[in-house]
């Protein structure tokens, strides 16, 4: 690991001022940043520890029923917060399907948003990667790419965004509250991540020095609580990133879908909101026929970026299944294996 100066910030304004130094990074839980520093992908000159900043670790309910989640709230603390898990069950399910208990105990909400792709070529400083070093090329195009993007990719980058948490957040119109040298602003999470285009090194909408201070979910999204699920296909039962995942939520009244929220994970450089599919579900009877039609619409523009054509059909099927689970209703208690496609009845069987 390259040497760096360590600064512990006592306030957001102190952190932002300290970040004026070139090649600075913010450090919260460290579960992604320290890993990237160990392998030489992140090589900061200055590390600004924001984990002690007061006032960023609260879950605050707004008068209208929306929620503001401080950027330093730990992933585990959010997922196990009773009111949060009841109000946004699919967000809690997504959180608990990610990483391990140890990582969730350390990782912060803001850090979850800022984590980098797990593309192996991004992680290998000896490989060409336009995301890591602008203009260096993309070894993933001709490499091991069966888990790479099928939507929104470009010839310059085919990486996917790894977060589970962000998938239902995008579906629920979450906003990212940031503070920076020029004041504070809100950014829609959907617009927070850039698609690679010809500049894959531009990953987020953050300007230099800007610091995430909170994530906000609007009150309207709480209405989906009775029918909201997250489903995640992994290559092992637990502690793995999604091959494909889907957040699906429905409002059903009088046997008809009044409103739908759908987003896919593991398919693009950002969590992929599927508004066309949502619109196609309004006013129709929930069921396989409607869900298959919506899923086909959602994947209509998908193209393989390598050996990953299977992910398109997989995403379609995962979406149908997630919508079916949402229709059946949010379970009373969190499944033993959150977001897993395996049956979750309790007992001695490990994998059905």
């Amino acid at each position: 690991m390259k040497r760096f100066d360590y600064i512990r910030a006592a306030s957001a304004s102190e952190a932002i001022a300290a970040s004026a130094h070139p090649n600075s990074v913010y450090l919260a839980g460290g579960t992604n940043m320290l890993d990237l520093m160990k392998i030489g992908v992140a090589r900061p000159d200055r590390v600004i520890d924001i984990s002690r900043i007061e006032g960023l670790s609260e879950i605050t309910w707004q008068d209208d029923g929306g929620v503001r989640i401080g950027a330093l709230v730990r992933n585990a603390d959010l997922a196990y917060d009773g009111r949060f898990a009841r109000t946004f069950p699919s967000v809690a399910e997504a959180l608990l399907s990610g990483a391990s208990a140890q990582v969730r105990n350390a990782a912060s909400v803001g850090g979850n948003l800022m984590q980098h792709t797990r593309c192996a070529y991004f992680h290998d400083p000896a490989s060409a990667c336009n995301r890591r070093v602008a203009g260096s090329g993309c070894d993933a195009r001709e490499g091991e790419n069966r888990l790479h993007a099928v939507l929104g990719w470009s010839e310059h980058c085919i990486a996917t965004h790894p977060s589970d948490f962000c998938v239902p957040l995008v579906a629920f119109d979450a906003n990212v509250e940031v503070e920076g040298p020029h004041g504070s602003r809100d950014i829609k999470l959907w617009e927070f991540y850039s698609l690679p285009g010809s500049t894959p090194d531009h990953v987020t909408a953050l300007q230099p020095g800007e610091l995430i201070v909170a994530v906000k979910i609007p009150a309207a999204s709480a209405a989906f609580a009775p029918n909201a699920r997250y489903l995640k296909l992994r290559e092992r039962t637990s502690f793995a990133f999604a091959v494909v995942s889907c957040a699906a939520a429905l409002q059903i009244d009088g046997g008809m879908i009044q409103s739908a929220r759908i987003a896919l994970g593991g398919v693009a450089a950002r969590p992929w909101r599927c508004q066309g599919a949502e619109a196609a579900l309004i006013g129709v009877e929930p069921g396989r026929e409607a869900f298959e039609k919506a899923a086909s619409l959602a994947l209509a523009d998908a193209h393989p970026s390598g050996d990953n054509a299977f992910k398109i059909e997989l995403a379609r099927r995962i979406m149908v299944r997630a919508l079916t689970l949402a229709m059946e209703g949010t379970p009373e208690t969190m499944p033993a294996l959150p977001a897993s496609p395996f049956p979750s009845e309790s007992g001695a069987r490990h994998v059905a």
Partner: protein, 165 residues
């Protein structure tokens, strides 16, 4: 640059000068404090061999900067037994053959203590396995580990009941 931290390690208050901010909590424990019970496996948060409790929460010591535990309380495998009296989780791992080579065991035991204290698994083996998935055992002693966690949880709640009485 030298940074000084105050921390309580296994109940003992310590003041430690950190001469390099790159030092992880894992390397501090092993290389500086001679607490080699905490193991280095992958050093990237993927295997769980370095699991310790920081302020009672299980975390990966390899992904924690030593400077960041300033003011915190750290518990390692060396802080569990009282003389020859093993912690209930240690005793249960022996009773149920929860290991073979033993390299992952300190991390497994610290993680199991964290899991029992978090209290999200109850006595459901499926939930225990899911919430222990951050600890890899390449010998494959998972069946014994699950049984050990189940029994230790029972023993610890019985002890709590008798302590309260």
């Amino acid at each position: 640059m030298s940074l000084s931290i105050s921390t309580i390690i296994n109940g003992e208050p310590r003041s430690i000068a950190i001469d390099d901010p790159r030092v992880s909590l894992l390397d501090l424990l092993r290389e500086r404090l001679d607490l080699t019970g905490t193991k280095k496996g992958c050093d990237r948060g993927q295997c769980g061999a370095c699991t310790v409790l920081v302020d009672g929460r299980r975390v990966n010591a390899c992904l924690t900067l030593a400077v960041s535990v300033d003011g915190a309380e750290v518990t390692t495998i060396e802080g569990l037994a009282r003389g020859d009296l093993l912690h209930p989780v240690q005793a249960a791992f022996i009773e149920h053959d929860g290991f073979q080579c033993g390299y992952c065991t300190p991390g497994q035991i610290m993680s199991a203590i964290g899991l029992i204290q978090e209290n999200h698994a109850g006595s459901d083996p499926e939930r225990i396995r899911e919430l222990m998935s951050g600890n890899i055992c390449r010998c494959g002693a998972y069946q014994g580990i699950t049984e050990a966690v189940l029994e230790a949880r029972e023993a610890m709640s019985e002890k709590n009941r008798s302590d309260a009485a």
